[in-house]
């Protein structure tokens, strides 16, 4: 069995940090911070709510982002967030290292 090279862990961390930065730019969206009871929850050590998995045979990663949406439509929020994440990854030079960004809406905060 091969050891996991440190640069993979570092690359995952950098991708996760880029995603956290992108999430911070979208108003009404935040990352899930609390663990769910009874669920095996995808957490990055540095960025809760972001799970960078992989790499695959071509050295690319998949990403799952768990978010809470407040005060806006879910489709609109996910739309904006995905664009922002791809933009941020592109700016930091990681877009080619990521195959997909899955967005998981875990909660909704509504003003009633």
């Amino acid at each position: 069995m091969n050891n996991v090279p440190l640069d993979i862990l570092d690359e995952k961390r950098r991708i996760a940090l880029a995603i956290r930065s992108a999430v911070g730019k979208v108003k009404g969206v935040s990352l899930v911070q609390r663990p769910m009871v009874g669920a095996s929850y995808p957490y990055n050590l540095d960025v809760p709510g972001v799970w960078v998995h992989g790499p695959d045979a071509k050295g690319r990663y998949g990403v799952i982002v768990s978010i809470i949406v407040s005060g806006m439509r879910i489709s609109e929020a996910a739309n904006k967030l995905r664009s922002e994440i791809w933009g941020e990854l592109d700016r930091r030079g990681y877009a080619g290292h990521v195959t997909s960004i899955d967005i998981r809406v875990e909660d909704l905060i509504m003003a009633v």
């Binding site: 609390r34 769910m36 009871v37 990403v63 949406v69 439509r73 879910i74 489709s75 609109e76 996910a78 739309n79 995905r82 664009s83 791809w86 195959t99 997909s100 960004i101 899955d102 967005i103 998981r104 809406v105 875990e106 909660d107 909704l108 509504m110 009633v112």
Partner: protein, 141 residues
């Protein structure tokens, strides 16, 4: 602005990746949409409300009581249990609840609502509440 389905298609063509919406999110929308309709006193059977409240306190995660949902990638199905105010026309109330749930879920999530099944579990009598309030005041005094 297109229909929710068109927007969902557009969303999916934004870049590689899927959008998944948790059951609890759709249940929350359905719960609020049902409560918005005049004539709906509350959701869930009395026993379910007690159990649901206890579970929410233990887990810390607010789970809407009286609503069950099944969410797929593009569709959702909703089951709702209602307590209706006495004197209201139940078929009219349930029709309005069904329509409001469909509208809200479709506009907020882009999911197509396949079915909304409604069960009216109880009727609420305002006199009953006044009587209970009176009894609890007597006990406290």
């Amino acid at each position: 602005m297109g229909t929710p389905q068109e927007e969902m298609k557009k969303l999916k063509s934004q870049g590689p990746g899927r959008t998944m919406i948790a059951d609890s999110v759709v249940a929350k929308i359905a719960s609020i949409a049902a409560r918005e309709v005049p004539g709906v006193h509350d959701l869930g059977a009395p026993a379910a409300r007690v159990i649901g409240g206890a579970i929410s306190r233990i887990t810390g995660a607010p789970m809407p009581v009286g609503v069950n949902v099944e969410v797929g990638e593009e569709e959702a199905a909703v089951d709702v249990n209602l307590i209706v105010d006495y004197g209201q026309a139940i078929p009219e109330v349930t029709d309005r609840v069904r329509q409001n749930i469909i509208n809200q879920i479709q506009s907020m999530t882009g999911l197509r609502v396949k079915e909304v099944n409604i069960a009216v579990n109880d009727l609420f009598f305002p006199q009953q509440q006044q009587q209970q309030a009176g009894e609890s005041e007597q006990r406290a005094a």
